[in-house]
Amino acid sequence: MSEATQVTDASFDSEVLESEVPVLVDFWAPWCGPCRMVAPVVEEISKDYDGRVKVVKVDTDKNPSVANKYGIRSIPTLMIFKGGQKVDMVVGAVPKTTLANTLDKYL
């Protein structure tokens, strides 16, 4: 079972910005209810898009620099990066189809 990698302030540049494939970043926090709902959706996306999209998670409590840099407010925020740039984002516990449709635009 593939599980999304946890990325930190220190590893964000190498794991996300320098990735050769598009990256879906799940900005979450431990005590956020909707984050808990969206987590299985993110895991499914990770399996469905294996090899085509990299899926990672950032705990905003532990990694405030990255969260501040990208202006994260409401969590969960799911952000898509391509070629080192933020290209799109979806906020809240969204259904899998919403997330998949958003991702498909960048493949």
């Binding site: 900005f27 926090a29 431990p30 005590w31 956020c32 209810g33 909707p34 984050c35 808990r36 709902m37 905003t60 405030p64 969260a67 501040n68 994260i72 407010r73 409401s74 969590i75 809240g92 516990a93």
Partner: protein, 114 residues
């Protein structure tokens, strides 16, 4: 992840139950969501003195507490019954359950594995 103290958790649980009844809103069909949010609120109450919304990222939590906008019940909830934490859901919401109460035991069990 540490859980909040019994006192603050009970405080938030009682507040949430009476506020749901007062506003005609319901807890999420997934009690895990309710439990996690109540623990988060209780922890903020403990650490910051106010129940700051746990479903947002803040550059400065102390400053946000003073600003009061995101202290539970937040302004969007009070004005428009919008709770993006999914603690208080209007009956037309797909994720609304039919309960306005949760036991402390349930909260502790559902948040223990974190």
């Amino acid at each position: 992840m540490n859980q909040a103290s019994e006192k603050n958790l009970d405080l938030m649980k009682s507040f949430a139950e009476s506020y749901a009844k007062r506003t005609g809103t319901y807890f999420c069909v997934d009690p895990g969501v309710t439990a996690v949010v109540l623990e988060g609120l209780a922890k903020h109450k403990e650490d910051l003195g106010a129940a700051l919304c746990p479903c947002r990222h803040y550059e400065d939590k102390e400053a946000e507490v003073k600003a009061t906008y995101w202290n539970c019940p937040c302004v969007p909830m009070r004005e428009r019954k919008e709770c993006h934490c999914m603690l208080f859901l209007t009956p037309d919401n797909d994720f609304a359950g039919d309960l306005q109460s949760i036991t402390t035991e349930e909260i502790r069990t559902l948040t223990a594995q974190g």
